[in-house]
Symmetry: C4
């Protein structure tokens, strides 16, 4: 399998997405974002194993949905094969099960992790987090795999995670982090950012006590449609900050 040619601007956007999620405080020295190949839905693009702050277009690799590396989409065949992320199986597993998903972001931001540890469900605290209103499942790797190293490092683990995600936009990984998926790259970045912000808001609201008038499912669907339509305004700003 050889890599296909991909428009350089696409690779640059994907690399920018990685740096944006660092700049916005969602990624730290770890975290990765991927996108489905624009012309081959049976392939996806993702950085080689690298701190997300350092990713550039030249670091993007191409993979089959089984997570086999196909080289660099922008580099001549024969160039030395870089080391991929072990957790590419998290991405591949989702692309296999969810034809509607075009981009996937995975990180370990601090405000999100508590909701994977306790029984309180994550909720959509405001319109920017509307995509959470449909529900946020939690994946506990112990349920299928017992005591592990927590890493999504195999096709089996990736498939189990994709099962747990179901048709939702965000999944929490117990004692690990979150996954956000979307029908385009800017929206996956938007959802990763506002998963974190909404988690912070909910943690603060919880200290006040009492019932919480978060978005219901219908409000969530309607507000999410607006967000998807207007994400460009935020995306342009975020990109500008990391270029």
């Amino acid at each position: 399998m050889a890599a296909d040619t991909v428009d350089r601007a696409v690779l640059e956007d994907l690399a920018a997405a990685s740096r944006i999620l660092v700049d916005q405080g969602v990624f730290d020295a770890a975290g990765h974002v991927s996108m489905r190949h624009p012309e081959r839905p049976d392939r996806f693009l993702m950085s080689r194993s690298l701190a997300p702050e350092l990713v550039t277009a030249d670091d993007i690799m191409e993979f089959t949905l089984d997570c086999a590396p196909c080289g660099h989409p922008s580099t001549p065949l024969g160039a030395s094969e870089p080391k991929p992320f072990i957790e590419r199986f998290l991405h591949g597993g989702i692309y296999q099960k969810r034809a509607d998903v075009i981009a996937v972001a995975h990180g370990h931001s601090a405000a999100v992790i508590p909701f994977g540890l306790v029984n309180t469900p994550m909720r959509a605290t405001y319109h920017n987090a509307a995509f959470l209103a449909a529900g946020v499942p939690v994946f506990d790797i112990r349920d299928r795999f017992g005591a592990t190293d927590i890493v999504i490092s195999s096709a089996e683990r990736g498939a189990a995670l994709a099962d747990a995600l179901g048709d939702k936009a965000v999944l929490l990984l117990r004692a690990h982090g979150f996954v956000a998926v979307a029908p385009d790259l800017p929206s996956a970045v938007f959802r990763a950012i506002f998963t974190e912000v909404s988690a912070r808001v909910q943690l603060q609201a919880a200290t006040l006590g009492g019932p919480m008038a978060t978005l219901d499912e219908e409000e969530g669907r309607k507000a999410d449609a607006i967000n998807l339509a207007t994400v460009g305004r935020s995306w342009e700003l975020w990109k500008k900050r990391v270029m």
Copy 2:
């Protein structure tokens, strides 16, 4: 309707207000601030649809109080019409009902949102937040409009919001954000900033438990008068940081 000429310094102050609220952590990639036209009280000025960090004097548009665009106040007639913010109706609704209001700021800062979700009223935790002591109402868009996309995108929604604001300085929007109004632009910025800071203080005080000796109404009125008289010292510093 054509735009009127406005002193360039006024437009620059309004644009600076937008960037100040980003710099001070109140606005993120969204949020907008407006002011009543200095010579025509039946018009108001507000940026075109743009991330607040990027707003300059050239982005300011003029609107009737019904929110019809009248072009740029600093650009020759005939220049291409930019895209206004959908939520200008939030601003217009308030200018129509509150002759005393000269400036309006609207954002979604994280510490404020919890108080629109739960039953705990927002209080004036210290002198800088004195304008909160008169009470902070919450506008729940469901009460009049049922399940919506949350956006204040029509004259009807703007009017309902202005009704909920009444004669107060700050209004919370359930699952959305806040509005701060003031008799001048620097004071609207000041109030937006200290609404956020006071919310943070109240959230922290709540974790300690027990009654809270916040400002009462009379203290609030007296301290607010001092704040309005001395806001210039803060305003000059904040502006300097974003010029």
Copy 3:
């Protein structure tokens, strides 16, 4: 009354103290720090009314302990009189009652304010906050002056505040902020910073619940002696950051 000559390095240190407290997140657009005149204990030095981030040696004024301005200690007589801070009475009141106090800092940092609103006493959560172990009184301006604008704007208010401070290192002002005093300028800055940090630690510890093994009075006295002796290492670093 004319200003006395003061070594320029002293004025620069006092101005640096103001900027350090901004840089360390204790002061925002407000807050002020003063010191007793090095050669005339019946005078004190303090910036003119100015955002603390902007203070330089040229902004320092000299005052009697009654808070009458005596001009600039580094500027020829006859130079135009700048506007002093209204709240200089907070400083003057303390210098009158506490011969041991050489420097005073006053600000409104967010983590400290909750402890002036509720009944939970502030405690010394770790060795850097040792000066809190002797106890932190709260001054409620209502007790003597009824409903006010909260500002310490008169000799009477300054004296009442100094009474409430007693022989302690830190005083909280209800719905307002804090005062930290020390036997030298670097230590007043140190105490202002670690009053804020310790408040944050205590707020976080409170969310865990149960008894708190903070420093007792004897540990506080012993650890404070070490802090006073070694403050230079922190002071040099902090100063370097704002020069």
Copy 4:
């Protein structure tokens, strides 16, 4: 005793570790990190007494495990002896008792201190904090030494602290801070950083209430092995930020 020659790159890494822990928000104006001498396991390397943000390779001193200074490992004999940290006894005590420990970091980061004050044990909230799953003991200096100044300023105090650490990776010091140890320098830095982050996560999770599905011991061991094997990716990024 004279200092041995040490590869300059080793000294630079140790100095970088100090600055990294400032950059990552673990150290403030205080905190220190040390490492065992690469060729002489009966010696260790540690900065002279200096704010950690300012440490360079030239500031590194060499000590016997009894904490006697042996001069600079990169400077000719006879150069003037700098002032060591008083708390080198904390480091020396650990190197004496734990042959497996190659690096030690000690700081006072705000989120960690609460867990040394209350009865809630610190837990491993996610895979990056796996090294906490084996348990985090608390050292209360009062138990052996009564009311002190809290400082680990003698061989006796250092030995008692090392006893309390036992075979664990992290120890909390009541009303003081934490110690993190590791089999190499990058891992000690990693552990110091994620002790702080995990403490923040646990504090936030605690506000939600209910049981917490943190890592168990077996998961912790497995995830820690991965962390130790992959720490280089984070270390290179962190170092790049402070060079």
